[in-house]
Every structure is written in structure tokens, then in C-alpha cells.
């Protein structure tokens, strides 16, 4: 059996996004040289939302790209389900930019490791920063986020799901406990 609990509701989701947008602007002293890169799939939607928030604050268009890290994963072999390759769409030069990587959940850190490699193959950004909506702990690599929406300490038999309107029909964060037999 599964047990679900709501950690962030629709309103909380909006407030967190707004705060993240302000934090990104504060650290970078404005939006002049930043670009957002979302990690497929939900990081992509989060990056677009954050870009819209930042545009509302700064009245300036932001460059947004999307990264497919499939080819850089360290667990490709032996996976039963080969992930669908959807491709990277970054139509601007990353060299010299302050790139904010965006993902929904920070967990082992392996996705971010792959994303860093993928990004560096595209050019030489001035800085790479990491923004995540939820940090759930259990890191396996020395990786830390610069911007965190919500810290949710979890146990390993729990799962965090960030739901987004674009794909899930609602904005929310839920914690799912997988029941033990």
C-alpha cells in the first residue's frame, strides 16, 4: 500500500518559485548575464516558470535551455528500460554566462554530475549554479545546491514527487511512502 502526504500546495508552490527567483537575482546581482537550463523533464518546466518570474521582476527576456542528460548517465547499462532520448535544446552560447541549472528533486547528485558534464561539453560557462525545488538528502556525490525551494529530509523508502501543471495537472509536492510487505 502507498501512503501520500502533501508537503507543498498550489499557493506554497507559487511562493517558493517567487522566492527562488529573487534569490537567483540577489546572488547574481540582477539578470544581465544569467541563463537558465532545465534538466528534462520537470526541470525544464521549472526553468521556464522561474524565467517568467524573473522577467516579471526585471522586465528583461531570459535565455532558457533544456538539457537531456541521458547520454551522460552512469547507470545506462543494465537498465531494463532504456530512457527515451529527447535531445538537448540550448540555442545560445553558454560560454561566459552564469548558468543556473534547474531540477525538481536533488537526491543522489548523480543527475547533476551528468548535467555538469553535458553542460561543459557545450562550452565554458563563467559559473554554473544549481537550483532545485526539493532537496531530499541521501547524496552519493559531493554536490550541493545554491538555491533550494524546500528541504525535505526523507528515508530511503520514501519518494518525493514534484507535480507540475504542465504534465500533472496541478502544482504540488507530495511525499509517498512505499508500504513494506
Amino acid at each position: 500500500m502507498q501512503d501520500k502526504s502533501l508537503l507543498v500546495d498550489e499557493q506554497g508552490f507559487q511562493r517558493t518559485l517567487t522566492r527562488l527567483a529573487h534569490e537567483i537575482l540577489e546572488l547574481n546581482k540582477g539578470s544581465a548575464n544569467i541563463a537558465l537550463v532545465g534538466i528534462r523533464t520537470r526541470g525544464d518546466f521549472l526553468a521556464r516558470r522561474l524565467a517568467r518570474k524573473i522577467q516579471e521582476i526585471e522586465h528583461r527576456e531570459l535565455q532558457v535551455g533544456v538539457l537531456d542528460i541521458t547520454l551522460y548517465r552512469d547507470d545506462l547499462r543494465g537498465k531494463l528500460n532504456q530512457p527515451l532520448l529527447k535531445g538537448t535544446d540550448i540555442f545560445f552560447d553558454v560560454t561566459g554566462k552564469n548558468i543556473v541549472l534547474v531540477d525538481d528533486v536533488l537526491f543522489t547528485g548523480r543527475t547533476v554530475r551528468a548535467a555538469l558534464d553535458a553542460l561543459i561539453d557545450l562550452g565554458r560557462p563563467a559559473t554554473i549554479q544549481l537550483a532545485v525545488f526539493v532537496d531530499r538528502g541521501h547524496r552519493e556525490l559531493p554536490i550541493k545546491a545554491d538555491f533550494v525551494g524546500k528541504n525535505c529530509p526523507t528515508s530511503s523508502d520514501e519518494e518525493i514527487r514534484v507535480l507540475m501543471n504542465e504534465v500533472d495537472g496541478e502544482d504540488a509536492v507530495v511525499l509517498v511512502r512505499k508500504g513494506r510487505e
Binding site: L71, Q82, K86, G87
Partner: protein
């Protein structure tokens, strides 16, 4: 969720539409990688691939080798002239020896039809057919279809006419199988001596008059005329072949449609294809070469990373 339904790429005969679609869609992602400053991803790191070429080939081997290296695989080239084949070793023994060296994938080209199928039965590595006799050359047909889809936005419903020596062409056979599966209307055109008499059983129409074929086609896939066929008296002379079947600007201009021209290379300029057509706007021959690397990367990725 996504993987191909097979462990090897031996031919397009009987390959499900879903698999062809998966390969073409995946190739789009690799096309993007080829446009980057660093044209390399670490996906097949630690995998070893042997290119086993019993027939000489520069283009296909180079294309495969680039695809393999861009996926970070370790690559070993093995060609027939400099090998134990000359000393009389059988294909099975060669394969078993190579397998003992712990390789993960084999790309094979061989003059005998069925060589890739045979290999896939005797070794454990993934096998990719890079041309077996006059049987199949699946990666060429896949890159042809990819290039068509890129240029024309679709494959279904197009009339593709394959022109030239159909009897001896593995490119023609793989194209016929793949294009038919993808819903294209396929025809062949060439001298009677170079078209198998029962070719209609593969579901294609036959033209012996190139102008009639051009009047109806959206795409011409022009095959290379092997000069040695003339010695076996299958057509009287290159000049005669050119005047009856050579694709020229004047011939294409008679058609009301904008015809797209493909050629698997290398071209005999001004024999099967006039130079102005080969270099003209309607030709996507150089795109085919670029797409060949992307399509081969997609196949290597899909076969090399599936469980």
C-alpha cells in the same frame, strides 16, 4: 519503454515500424551533437566495438568509426586484406577468436549474403550488418529514410523510385523493405537485365522508362552503376546506360514536381547522375553523409545500452 525489439541490426526485412521510428527519432538527438563544438558524449565508454570489414569500404567504415568514437567506444578495425582470412580462417573461427577478446559489438561487412545473420548466431556480441552481399545494407536505408524525412517532413505517401542496378543492390533491397514498412510507395527503374524478374513480390512497381518514372516520382534514389557489370555484358556501354537511365537536369525539369535526389555514393559523375544534378538544389547527397553518422550513433546507442 523505448528499446528496440531486437539485439542486432541485421536487416530491415521484417523490422517493425516502431523500431524504425525509434531509430529515426533517436538520430535527431545525435544530429544536434554533431553540430556542437565538442562532438563527443561518454555514452559507450568502456565498450569495445570491432569493425569487421571483409569487403573494402572507405565511406561506410569511416562513418561507423566516427559514430563509435563520438560515443566514446573503443574501436578496433579489422580488414580482410591484412588478416587471417587470407590464411584461410573461416568466418566462424575469426568471430570466435574476436569474441574471446571480450568485445561488445561487431559491425560486419561481408561479400556473402547472410554473413551478419550467421555471426549473430555464433557470438554473443551485438551484431550490426554493414552490408552482406546483395542482401541488405540496413544502415544505408535508415539514413536514406532519415534524410528524406528531414527534407520532406514525412515518408508515408511519398513515391520513391530506386534507379539503377537493382539485382545486385543491397541498398535497394533494404530501402524497399524499410520504405514499404513506413508507408511509402516504392518503384524501381532500370534496364531489364538489372531488375530481378520477380521484384514485384516485394510490393514495388517497375519502370523501364526513366521519363515515365520521373513523371510520377517525388524522390529518386539513384544507385551507383558498378563499372564491372558492363564486363559481364548486363548493359552494352556506359554511354548507352547514361542516355537511357542517366539522371540529368533536362529530365528532371520535365516533371511538374520538385524531385529530391539521393545517392548512396560514391558517384560516377555523368554516368548515373549528371554533375549539375549531383551538386544542385534537389540533391541531398551530402546531407546523407552527415546524417549517416547520426543514424549510426543512434543504432549503436540503442543496441549498446539496452539490457
Amino acid at each position: 519503454m523505448m528499446a528496440l525489439s531486437c539485439r542486432h541490426l541485421l536487416g530491415l526485412d521484417g523490422m517493425p515500424k516502431k523500431d524504425i521510428q525509434t531509430i529515426l527519432d533517436t538520430a535527431t538527438s545525435f544530429r544536434e551533437i554533431l553540430e556542437r563544438p565538442i562532438k563527443k558524449v561518454p555514452t559507450l565508454q568502456g565498450k569495445t566495438i570491432v569493425n569487421l570489414f571483409f569487403e573494402s569500404s572507405t565511406r561506410t567504415r569511416t562513418s561507423f568509426e566516427l559514430a563509435e568514437r563520438r560515443l566514446s567506444a573503443d574501436v578496433v578495425n579489422f580488414s580482410a586484406d591484412a588478416s587471417s582470412v587470407k590464411k584461410g580462417e573461416s568466418l566462424k573461427d575469426t568471430a570466435r577468436n574476436i569474441e574471446m577478446m571480450k568485445i561488445d559489438m561487431v559491425v560486419i561487412r561481408h561479400a556473402a549474403a547472410g554473413a551478419a545473420h550467421f555471426l549473430s548466431r555464433v557470438i554473443n556480441a551485438n551484431v550490426i550488418n554493414a552490408g552482406d552481399g546483395a542482401h541488405e545494407h540496413p544502415t544505408q536505408a535508415l539514413l536514406d529514410m532519415y534524410s528524406l524525412r528531414e527534407r520532406l517532413g514525412k515518408i508515408e505517401g511519398l513515391h520513391v523510385c530506386i534507379v539503377g542496378d537493382i539485382s545486385h543492390s543491397r541498398v535497394a533491397r533494404s530501402n524497399i523493405f524499410g520504405l514499404r514498412t513506413m508507408g511509402a510507395d516504392v518503384s524501381v527503374c532500370g534496364p531489364r537485365t538489372l531488375i530481378p524478374s520477380d521484384i514485384e513480390t516485394l510490393g514495388v512497381r517497375v519502370f523501364h522508362d526513366i521519363d515515365a518514372a520521373i513523371a510520377d516520382a517525388d524522390v529518386l534514389n539513384v544507385l551507383r552503376i558498378q563499372l564491372e557489370r558492363q564486363e559481364s555484358a548486363l548493359f552494352p556501354s556506359l554511354r548507352e546506360y547514361r542516355s537511357y537511365f542517366g539522371i540529368t537536369r533536362e529530365r528532371l525539369e520535365k516533371s511538374k514536381r520538385q524531385i529530391t535526389v539521393l545517392h548512396p555514393g560514391p558517384i560516377n559523375r555523368d554516368v548515373e547522375l549528371s554533375a549539375d544534378v549531383a551538386d544542385g538544389e534537389q540533391s541531398i547527397i551530402l546531407q546523407q553523409v552527415l546524417n549517416g553518422v547520426a543514424v549510426r550513433m543512434a543504432i549503436l546507442y540503442l543496441l549498446g545500452t539496452s539490457a
